[in-house]
Symmetry: C2
DNA sequence: TCGTTTTTAGGTCATTTGTCCTAATTCGTC
DNA sequence: GACGAATTAGGACAAATGACCTAAAAACGA
């Protein structure tokens, strides 16, 4: 098989395992088993576990960046863009209930261990934060834009955590509806005072 | 030393280490070193790592339960009680910035590994949830009480996570102020429609 | 075919949990 | 104080696991 194809399937498998089982709990052997290659081959592509983590974070970064860009490029209103972000929680409903937020849980794990990959994991938060801030600026929120961005991020994180703790309850849907209502209010408020 | 005193200091040390480093990352040797006892003595008190985890969760449960009860017993209004809960985030400011929420991060870690201690960790959430629900009921929120309780829990979790990711920003204080303002609005709303 | 790339099989080394043992020390009780 | 029970120290050791490494084989392209 092509080397970059093998490398890619390793990163794909690692991404999934880091999400569902956690970074530390996932071993070389686990990833190799999913991909169907030997541990030695694994080492051929990635010298250290941190190198795989880097690749996984880079992959997530690109994936999220592409997603966010597509929402802006398709030309919808800033409010609808932010609404789409909030609705990610609904889109990934089952996975969030089962494993929490892939960004949040990874950061929390790396932070607790003072892992060198922590800044890279924080950069994933930054990506969403900047994007949200720009959308709120487009909405006319000016100086409040960053604070609003952080607010949306925090509530999303909280909802993901609690949905993970209480997966059998309709809590996630309720909270998303409330966040969308809150967004309506913010948008209305800044529409009349431009 | 008294056996229960030794046991207690083990649980205290484990509680702190599980919080600051995480459960999996903390080894028997780590805890024994902090307490200043031998590994042999350690095994005299706790046969397995899961047994220490149980003891730590029980301890946290009792500590939080005592705290919540004291807030009700001192006879302040339900609104002020809920306010005190929200202000936990301020009280534990530095620790939350450094290590996140002790309840949330423990649950997330155990959940991700399908650890048998997961239900016990969820019970900690339940404790806060029930208490908040009762306070909102006292406030006259009736059927909405549980949903409001979950809302407060979720926002607190989200704030803790983001404050952990951005420890150098005044974000935590800002969000607490907003939550307290939100609480004011809820209380006012139910004061005029009893 | 030849040389490079890719893959495999296997092993090393360190760490951690958990078990077990012995001897010393402390403690409660008489 | 004496005695037995509880507690502690300090280790040896097995089993498991995971990160990391090497060398030979296989696949592949020119």
């Amino acid at each position: 098989m092509n080397a970059s194809a093998t490398r890619d399937s390793i990163v794909t498998a690692a991404d999934e395992l880091f999400y569902t089982r956690g970074f530390e709990a996932t071993s070389f052997a686990d990833v190799a088993a999913v991909v169907g290659i030997s541990r030695g081959n694994f080492y051929y592509h990635f010298k250290t576990k941190d190198a795989i983590l880097d690749a996984v974070i880079t992959r997530r970064m690109k994936s999220r960046d592409d997603m966010l860009r597509s929402w802006v490029d398709c030309g919808q209103s800033p409010k609808d863009s932010i609404g789409k972000f909030i609705r990610i929680l609904l889109m990934n409903n089952e996975k969030i209930r089962a494993y929490g937020c892939p960004i949040g849980t990874l950061f929390t794990e790396l932070s607790k261990r003072d892992h060198p990959g922590e800044p890279a994991a924080r950069a994933l938060f930054d990506l969403f934060r900047q994007w949200l801030r720009h959308r709120f600026e487009d909405l006319g929120c000016g100086a409040d834009a960053d604070q609003l961005a952080m607010h949306v991020l925090a509530r999303s994180q909280g909802v993901a955590t609690l949905a993970n703790a209480y997966p059998d309850e309709p809590f996630l849907e309720t909270e998303v509806a409330q966040m969308l209502a809150w967004l309506d209010a913010i948008a209305a408020q800044h529409a009349q005072t431009p």
